[in-house]
Amino acid sequence: MERTDGRSAGQIRTVRCERGLLTRADGSAQWTQGGTCCLASVTGPTQCYASSKEDAERATVDVVFRPRSGLAGALERQYEALIRRACEAVIVAALHPRALIQVVLQVVSDDGGVLACALNAACAALLDAAVPLRTLCAAVSAAHTEDEGGLLLDPTAAEEAAAAATGTFAFLPLLAGGGDSKGDELQLLSSQTRGRLTTDQLLDMIEAAKQGADRLAAFMQQSARQAAPLAQ
C-alpha cells in the first residue's frame, strides 16, 4: 500500500539532524522528520536554581516543551513529563549529584509525530552537550487505520487525524557495537496511545515502532560519529 507522500507503510520520513546550532547552549540539535521539526537545547550539568529541585544523589533533569505558537498547556506538560522520564533513563545521572540538566524543546514545525520528534531531538542534543549517556533512545510514532493491515509508521498530521488510533513509543534501541543490550528484547522505555486498539494491534504497533526506532538510533549514532570524528 502506498501512502499519499509515496512512502510504504513501514517507512519513516526523511530524517535530518543538525547539531550545534545554538552557540549559547551547552548542546543543541535540530531534528527534522519530514514536515515535523524540533529544536532542542541542553544546558548543564549546572547548578540547581532551586534547592527544592536538588537531589543529593543524582542530577535533576528538567524538560521544557514549547509549542510552535501559543502558551504551553496540559498537553505540553504531559509531553514534558514523558520526555523527562525518558531522558532520566538514558542519562547517567549519578555522575553529577546536586546538578541540573535542562532540556528545552521548541517545536519549529508540526506535521505529525511531534512528540517522537521532540524526544529524538532531546537525545541528539544530549549527545551534542556530551552529557554522559547510558545508551541512546529513539522514539517513533505509529498510527492504526481502519483499512486492512493499516499500520503506518511515522504518520503525518493528516494520517494521524484519519487514524483510529495513534501511539508514540520510545525505546532503548539495539546499537551497533553496544555492549549490554539483550538480543531481540523489546526494550520499551515509554509509551502513549490514543484511540481504540485490540491487544494484538497494540503489540504489532509496538513491534513495528521498535524496528523504526532501531533505524533512527543507528542514524543518530552515525551522525554523532561524523560530528566528532576524534571520538573513534
Binding site: 496540559a74 506538560r77 525518558a86 528484547e185 509509551s191 486498539l197
Partner: protein, 304 residues
C-alpha cells in the same frame, strides 16, 4: 520481653524510612507487599455514588487509601460555531492540596495536568459529544467533570478514571425546553413546559441518560526488580523501575497504554500488564454495576 518488642517495632519503622528500597525488596522477595497484598492484587476498592448533592452526578472512589471524588455539572451553553451539532465535555483533574504532604496550593501540578490531559482524551472518545446537542447551532450541553484527588496514595489514574466513569454512568441530563422567545428552562419546569407544548414543535428534550460507548477501566502496574506489582501505592511508586497504565474496555480493546520509567520493559511485561488490566476491568465493572443497581439506575444501565 515487651520492651524488646517495642524496640523491634521502632526498628522496622526506622528501617522503612531509611532504606525504603531494602524494605520493599524484603517483602517482594517473599512474594508480598508491605501492606500484605500479593504482588498481583489491587487494593480493596469502593464506589459511592451521589456523594455530593450539589452536582448532577457524583462518585467517590477509594482504592486502598487513594481517594478521588468526581462531580459532574451540566450547563446549557450556546453551541460553538465550529461544532454546531455537538456539546462539550470538559474534564479537569485537580490535586487538592490536602491530598499529600508534598502537594502545594497554587498552580496545578504537573501530575494533575498530565491526568487532565489523559482523561480528557479518554473520556472524549467514550462520550459522543453529538448527543449533548440540544438544538443544533443554538444551544448544547456543556458537561463539566471535575475530579478532585483527596488522598494521593498511588495509581491515581485508575481511581480518577473510575470516579469519572461512575459519575458519568449515573448522570441524567435534565429535561430541557426552549420556548419561542428562546428562553431555556431545565429540570421540572422544562418537563411541565413540554406538557403544555404538546402538538407544537417539541423544542427541547426529555430527561435522559448519557450514552457511553464503552466502560474503560485502567490498571497501573509497576516493575520492581523484574517483578510486576499491580496498583502500586505512593510509597512504592518512586522505587519502581518502570510503570505502565493500561486502559481497556469491556470487549478487551486497548484505549490507552501509557508506560514510562527509568528502565525499559520487554514484550512479556507489556502482555502481562494488558492481561492484568483485563482481569481488573472485569472485577471493577461488576463493582460499578452493583453500585449503580444500589442507586436504582441498573435497568437503564443495561439499556445504554
Amino acid at each position: 520481653m515487651a520492651a524488646a518488642a517495642a524496640a523491634g517495632q521502632v526498628d522496622a519503622d526506622t528501617f522503612r524510612r531509611l532504606y525504603p528500597d531494602d524494605y520493599l525488596r524484603k517483602f517482594v522477595e517473599q512474594g508480598l507487599r508491605p501492606d500484605g497484598r500479593p504482588l498481583a492484587a489491587a487494593r480493596p476498592t469502593s464506589i459511592g455514588l451521589g456523594a455530593v448533592s450539589t452536582t448532577d452526578a457524583s462518585a467517590l472512589v477509594k482504592v486502598g487509601s487513594t481517594t478521588a471524588l468526581a462531580g459532574v455539572k451540566c450547563e446549557v451553553v450556546p453551541a460553538l460555531p465550529e461544532a454546531p451539532d455537538a456539546g462539550r465535555l470538559v474534564v479537569q483533574v485537580e490535586m487538592a492540596p490536602l491530598c499529600s504532604a508534598t502537594t502545594r496550593p497554587g498552580r496545578p501540578s504537573e501530575g494533575a495536568q498530565v491526568l487532565t490531559e489523559q482523561l480528557s482524551a479518554l473520556l472524549g472518545s467514550v462520550v459522543d459529544a453529538r448527543q449533548l446537542c440540544i438544538d443544533a447551532g443554538k444551544v448544547a450541553w456543556a458537561v463539566y467533570v471535575d475530579i478532585y484527588v483527596l488522598d494521593a496514595d498511588g495509581s491515581l489514574h485508575d481511581a480518577c478514571l473510575l470516579a469519572a466513569l461512575a459519575a458519568l454512568s449515573s448522570l441524567r441530563l435534565r429535561a430541557v425546553s426552549i420556548d419561542e422567545s428562546g428562553r431555556v428552562q431545565t429540570g421540572a419546569a422544562a418537563a411541565a413546559a413540554q406538557q403544555q407544548q404538546q402538538g407544537e414543535r417539541p423544542a427541547g428534550q426529555q430527561e435522559r441518560r448519557l450514552a457511553l460507548s464503552c466502560q474503560p477501566v485502567s490498571l497501573t502496574c509497576g516493575l520492581y526488580r523484574g517483578r510486576l506489582l499491580a496498583d502500586p501505592t505512593a510509597e512504592e511508586e518512586p522505587l519502581l523501575e518502570a510503570q505502565a497504565t493500561a486502559t481497556l474496555d469491556e470487549s478487551g480493546a486497548v484505549l490507552g497504554f501509557a508506560a514510562g520509567g527509568t528502565a525499559a520493559v520487554g514484550q512479556i511485561v507489556v502482555v502481562q500488564c494488558l492481561e492484568a488490566a483485563k482481569m481488573r476491568g472485569k472485577e471493577v465493572r461488576a463493582m460499578l454495576q452493583q453500585a449503580l443497581e444500589q442507586a436504582g439506575l441498573a435497568a437503564d444501565a443495561d439499556a445504554s
